[in-house]
């Protein structure tokens, strides 16, 4: 039985061993995105007047661009960009890719299969991927979880959940 892992998570954990591999690429991506958004902000109303619809978006995207320049300028010196292998082991591990794929699959299946079937399949697959023990137990836990969530949202909160071909 796994103990709860208390070490993970946290909105704001400090990364002790410096920036993880790939930060240069990610910062570059954010800088590029900021520039695109800044251009978009400029196209809203240009410099028509100081109270037009585009001024505040330009200020906000401008802040994004400037802060990204500060971040990249500060990180260049101490950050080695890291090897591709470390990036794929540390930032995008096989487990994270597999789990994210399951989530995407779940969302795509939500409308054709409906909430009950899609959620059950997702929970079973995801729990088996992460837990890897007692396959039968995960089948039961998934079934109970789906029943409780469905009951709660459908009958207590009266939320209309996506329906599929069968349910």
């Amino acid at each position: 039985m796994n103990e709860p892992d208390q070490t993970g998570g946290a909105a704001d954990v400090r990364v002790p061993e410096g920036a993880p591999p790939g930060s240069l690429i990610f910062n570059g991506f954010l800088a590029l995105a900021s520039l695109v958004l800044a251009y978009q902000a400029w196209t809203i109303s240009g410099f028509q007047s100081l109270s037009s619809a585009g001024v505040f978006p330009m200020l906000a995207t401008g802040a994004m661009v400037v802060s990204m320049i500060v971040i990249i300028a500060g990180s260049n010196r101490r950050d080695s960009s890291g090897t591709g292998r470390r990036f794929f082991g540390d930032v995008i591990s096989l487990r994270i890719v597999a789990f994210a794929t399951l989530i995407i699959g779940y969302m795509l299946a939500l409308q054709p299969l409906g909430f009950i079937v899609a959620s059950y399949l997702f929970l079973t697959a995801a729990m088996f991927l992460l837990h890897r023990k007692r396959f039968l137990l995960t089948l039961v836990i998934s079934a109970v979880s789906v029943a409780v969530i469905y009951g709660l949202f459908r009958y207590v909160f009266v939320v209309v959940l996506p329906r599929g071909v069968f349910f």
């Binding site: 103990e3 994004m64 989530i103 995407i104």
Partner: protein, 501 residues
């Protein structure tokens, strides 16, 4: 005052009593479970309760609100995951405490301090509501803008080591919040020609994405690390401990009420401000801040629950929401045919006293459930991650879908989840993004109103920040915060400290 009898209405009616209790109990768990937010729960409850009697609905929502603001602290302490934005500051010292094996006292103390803060907030609501409403009436658009900038700067600088990363995160949030049709000119902004983006991006989707799915993915990264079991012992705090921190609690509560009463700013900013204030003023903390100081727990937990009472003040007196949850409660009041605003207190004063009495009741239930439910809570916390993470994903999907019955929102949520994962990995704080999303539209409108009233003249616009007394105070505090963040200031202080030691 003849309406004061309504104060006890919720106490004597069994069904109102029950709904308040259920609301508070559920609120604690909703606040504690990451990805489930009070805002989301409140908005779902609106659709669920609109056929109910207005008093029942208000009782349930008040309970959820009170419990939810507190509940976030539980997971902040035990898992270092703030269950709600208002618990972000709680995690800074709460989690180190749990790592030292003091999770029990930490939870107990934060419960009692939340209740004390809650009472201070309600007292302020009952006593000072008319006064504060008069004060708030003097706020000009530029003051709203200043307050929002102060809030964002504080969150940006507190939530990470790098102010630049904090500002980037907040600006990103503002841009996300501005997506859609401009409310003043109906121009499309950041829609990339997509018609579906005209209505904007649901901030519930963004919030669940950044705090739910991103968190799940982030936890997978550290999945293989050896597990540490938190020991939660006796959680009833010692009387001496409560007495020792009572002055700090009352001081933080005062901050909480004030921030809560400011439009738009709720428990999250109140908690961060109170934490910051405690960090500056407390001379000899039990441990250095950030390493498990009880002061770092008392301040935000008192403040965020005090902000609940504070947030009701502008809602009931002016019809302006004090934070996101009170914005939803305003919606609920409209559904029930009531108009929150200056006339609410005149036409239905009994409603005011009913709400005050009901909040007191919810606070009492908070003390009872907060100090007793820990066994059950630990069971949830002790569930293997391999089971709880997929469940959080399902709840995130259902919750996002539920708000607008929209699958598009679910896709947005996943996109924000993946973006949030990378932001977290590379050391960007996520909390300022959410604040930016909520405050962005407010800042935009406030800025433009201020600029229009200055007739687009930069000199008049800038001059007004220094001529009105209220704006002057806010401007000066803003300057103080900015100067306090610069490397020059840190160096000056470092030199001064070196000289004295």
């Amino acid at each position: 005052m003849e309406n004061f009898g309504y104060f006890f209405m919720g106490w004597l009616d069994p069904s109102l009593l029950a709904w308040t209790a259920i609301g508070t109990f559920a609120g604690i768990y909703i606040g504690a479970i990451p990805g489930l937010s009070v805002t989301m729960a409140a908005s779902i409850l609106i659709s669920f309760t609109f056929t109910w009697d207005v008093n029942d609905a208000l009782a349930l929502i008040a309970g959820v609100y009170m419990g939810g603001v507190y509940g976030g602290s539980r997971t902040a302490i035990l898992l270092n995951i703030p269950g709600a934005p208002s618990a972000v500051a709680t995690a800074l010292d709460g989690y180190p405490l749990a790592q030292r094996g003091e999770a029990g006292p930490a939870i107990g103390l934060s419960t009692v301090m939340s209740v004390i803060g809650g009472f201070v907030g309600i007292l302020a609501l009952a006593v000072a509501a008319p006064v504060i409403s008069q004060f708030a009436l003097m706020f000009a658009p530029r003051d709203y803008l200043l307050i929002a900038i102060i809030g964002i700067l504080l969150v940006g600088s507190l939530a990470s080591n790098s102010l630049a990363k904090g500002i980037f995160a907040a600006s990103l949030g503002i841009v996300i919040g501005l997506v859609g049709m401009d409310p003043m000119t109906a121009q499309a902004r950041f829609t990339f020609g997509e018609f579906s983006l005209m209505g904007g991006i649901s901030y519930v989707a963004a919030m669940i994405g950044f705090f739910g799915v991103a968190e799940v993915l982030y936890q997978l990264r550290t999945f293989d690390l050896p597990a540490i079991k938190q020991k939660v012992g006796n959680i009833i705090p010692k009387w001496s401990l409560i007495r020792k921190y009572l002055p700090l609690s009352l001081q933080s509560s005062a901050i909480g009420v004030t921030i809560g009463a400011l439009p738009g700013t709720g428990g999250d900013i109140a908690a961060l401000l109170a934490y910051d204030q405690a960090k500056r003023t407390v001379k000899n903390p039990s441990r250095p801040f950030g390493e498990g100081a009880y002061e770092g727990l008392v301040a935000p937990e008192s403040a965020n629950n005090a902000a609940v009472g504070g947030a009701y003040v502008p809602m009931l007196t002016l019809g302006i929401p004090g934070d996101a949850v009170t914005a939803i409660i305003i919606g609920a009041l409209y559904i029930h045919g009531l108009k929150p605003g200056p006339l609410l207190m005149v036409e239905t004063p009994h409603l005011f006293w009913f709400i005050v009495g009901n909040l007191v009741l919810a606070n009492i239930f908070l003390l009872i459930f907060g100090l007793s439910g820990i066994k059950l809570f630990s069971k949830i916390v002790e569930m293997p991650k391999g089971i709880i993470l997929p469940l959080i994903v399902v709840l995130s999907v259902v919750g996002t879908f539920a708000v607008q019955n929209s699958v598009t929102d679910v896709y947005w949520m996943l996109a924000f989840g993946i973006l949030g994962y990378f932001l977290k990995v590379y050391g960007f704080p996520v909390a300022p993004v959410i604040l930016g999303i909520i405050l962005g539209p407010l800042m935009d409108v406030s800025y433009r109103r201020a600029m229009i009233s200055a007739r687009d003249d930069v000199m008049i616009f800038a001059g007004e920040f220094f001529t009105s007394p209220l704006s002057l105070i806010l401007t000066l505090s803003l300057i103080a915060i900015v100067v306090g963040q610069t490397p020059l200031w840190a160096r000056l202080r470092g030199r001064k400290a070196a000289a004295t030691s």
